[in-house]
């Protein structure tokens, strides 16, 4: 399905979404944290879009905001779409989990929590994944400092 048709269908569900196609080869949707779960479940359950394969979950630190980028693909229509969600709260960032929609998100969201500190509501097992439980700080954030281990050029 073309990006235009996708944009038409998706914007009919939730009006305040931002769509952009610049800077990326795929159609990108920017959604607010409150509407994230609703948008995701509709993207999966609607048969014209049928995005049932979540293949990449990337945590991002945009400087002022933290967020997650989801890459979705449909196994039947073979189109790809990107969903971005941002939150300004850097002290206690929380987002809704999508692990009840795609089970692969369980591990991916644990990784995002481990490296960025973003908590996910209703996640079945939100613990650190790679780093030990006693680790202090969130390494992939841009303001992370570690004099002993990080080599800065």
């Amino acid at each position: 399905m073309t990006n235009e048709a996708l944009q038409n269908i998706i914007s009919s569900w939730i009006p305040e979404l931002e769509f952009t196609e610049e800077d990326s080869q795929f159609l990108t949707i920017i959604v607010k944290p409150e509407q994230l779960h609703q948008l995701m479940s509709q993207l999966k359950s609607t048969s014209e879009t049928n995005f049932d394969y979540l293949f990449c979950v990337t945590g991002m630190d945009w400087g002022k905001e933290l967020g997650v980028i989801y890459h979705l693909e449909s196994t039947t229509h073979r189109h790809i779409i990107v969903v971005k969600v941002k939150t300004e709260d850097k002290e206690n960032p929380t987002l809704d989990t999508v692990s009840n929609i795609w089970r692969t998100a369980e591990f991916h969201e644990r990784e995002v929590f481990d490296f960025f500190g973003i908590k996910f509501n209703n996640h079945p097992n939100l613990k650190r994944l790679f780093l030990t439980n006693e680790w202090d700080g969130f390494p992939l954030r841009k303001d992370y400092v570690d004099e002993t281990n990080m080599i800065i050029k």
Binding site: S24, Y53, H71, F107, F130, L140
Partner: protein
């Protein structure tokens, strides 16, 4: 008290650690098993033993240096990992890659796939108890490693692909030795089948064990032979072809039963298909340059770029978010093993410990790929 702690300590249940040092291989993976007699109740992987913060390092390194980091991730498909990053950078810069480079990249990628599957087969046999298969698999992998050593200079971490092409041109013996290898290996796969695949004991260990349905495979984000064994057609070489893959014809190995035996047979079939791809390309390598000149300091334009490739384990994705500087702002590797590992708990619960070992061997995990 949260339910997870209570569940772990019921009185009849044992809590066993298949610790980071395995007598079998797979790398440093720690599995916490909760078993009741012989039946497994819960499998929880504990990762991070070989986490080297590759993604953080990539935010500091230049694009040519990043290529060197990628072959330490999934070291069994190192060429294909390099190719992934190089393709992302080249597509972002919109470079025109010569045909010669594309064909050579595809041939080397398929040789890497065969080498990885040879090692997987050897280790698979060892895990279920047939200790001789390890040596037969390595005997054939050594032939491929010798070809690579002559052309690229290294046997494991090759670094032959660079953004813009190849580091140097192929050695004059490359075509001849590859053709000899293909002829030799065609007689070996039937030997593998005679030794292991057709064996009654092996079939009983693998048939009906570790069943993964197609819906679960898609929901868990499985890719590669794991998903193809359950009937989900996901070969990146077919759906999003790259390099010279749109010029070759090959069949995608698909099976529908979803048990360990079908994942095993998918990989054996993939070895045949890789041999066929190499044969189609090896005689007609186009003449030309082996690389395109790029600037010494590569700067990607502002934007987000994503490239998928098919490694021996599954779909590897490289996501680069660049702000126009000489380092990426964020680089993420979508590793196939990560999603494949997440379904281990789902397929192992309710089975026996012997089944866990057999299923894990068919998932073909390489832990540095998961931990990055």
């Amino acid at each position: 008290m949260d339910t997870t702690t209570v569940n772990n300590f019921k009185s009849e249940e044992y809590f066993i650690n298949m610790g980071p040092q395995h007598p079998a291989t797979h790398g440093v993976l720690r599995l916490l098993l909760t078993i009741d007699g012989e039946i497994i109740k819960k499998v929880e992987p504990d990762l991070g033993y070989i986490h080297r913060s590759i993604e953080k390092m990539c935010e500091r390194d230049s694009y040519q240096q990043i290529v060197h980091l990628t072959d330490r991730m999934d070291y069994l498909s190192s060429h294909i990992n390099n190719e992934a990053v190089c393709l992302t950078v080249e597509n972002a810069l919109q470079l025109e890659i010569p045909e010669r480079v594309k064909v050579i990249r595809t041939i080397i990628g398929e040789l890497t796939r065969i080498a990885s599957h040879c090692l997987w087969w050897g280790v698979m046999g060892m895990d279920v108890g047939a200790l001789t298969t390890y040596f037969y698999g390595f005997r054939d992998r050594e032939m491929i490693n010798d070809i690579f050593e002559e052309t690229c200079g290294a046997r494991l971490t090759m670094n032959y692909n660079i953004p813009g092409g190849l580091m140097f041109d192929i050695h004059p013996n490359f075509v001849k030795r590859t053709k000899e290898f293909v002829a030799h290996f065609k007689t070996k796969i039937p030997e593998y089948n005679r030794l292991l695949t057709g064996n009654v004991i092996f079939q009983k260990r693998m048939k009906g064990v570790g069943i993964l349905t197609k819906e679960d495979a898609i929901s868990f984000g499985a890719s590669g032979p794991v998903a193809r064994g359950s009937g989900y057609s996901c070969d990146v070489r077919k759906h999003h072809p790259y390099s010279a893959l749109d010029k070759v014809t090959f069949k995608e190995a698909l099976k529908t039963e979803g048990d360990s035996l079908s994942r095993y047979e998918v990989r054996i079939q993939e070895m045949w298909e890789s041999l066929s791809i190499i044969e189609q390309l090896i005689d007609n390598i186009p003449e030309g340059e082996h690389k395109v000149a790029t600037k010494a300091v590569i700067k990607l334009p502002k934007g987000e770029f994503y490239q998928k490739v098919e490694t021996a384990r599954g779909e590897l994705g490289v996501f680069i978010n660049s702000t126009g500087t000489k380092n990426p702002y964020r680089l993420k590797f979508r590793s196939p093993g990560f999603s494949n590992l997440s379904l281990l708990n789902h397929i192992a619960v309710g089975g026996k410990i012997g089944d866990l070992v057999a299923s894990m061997a068919t998932l073909d995990l390489v832990i540095p790929d998961i931990d990055r």
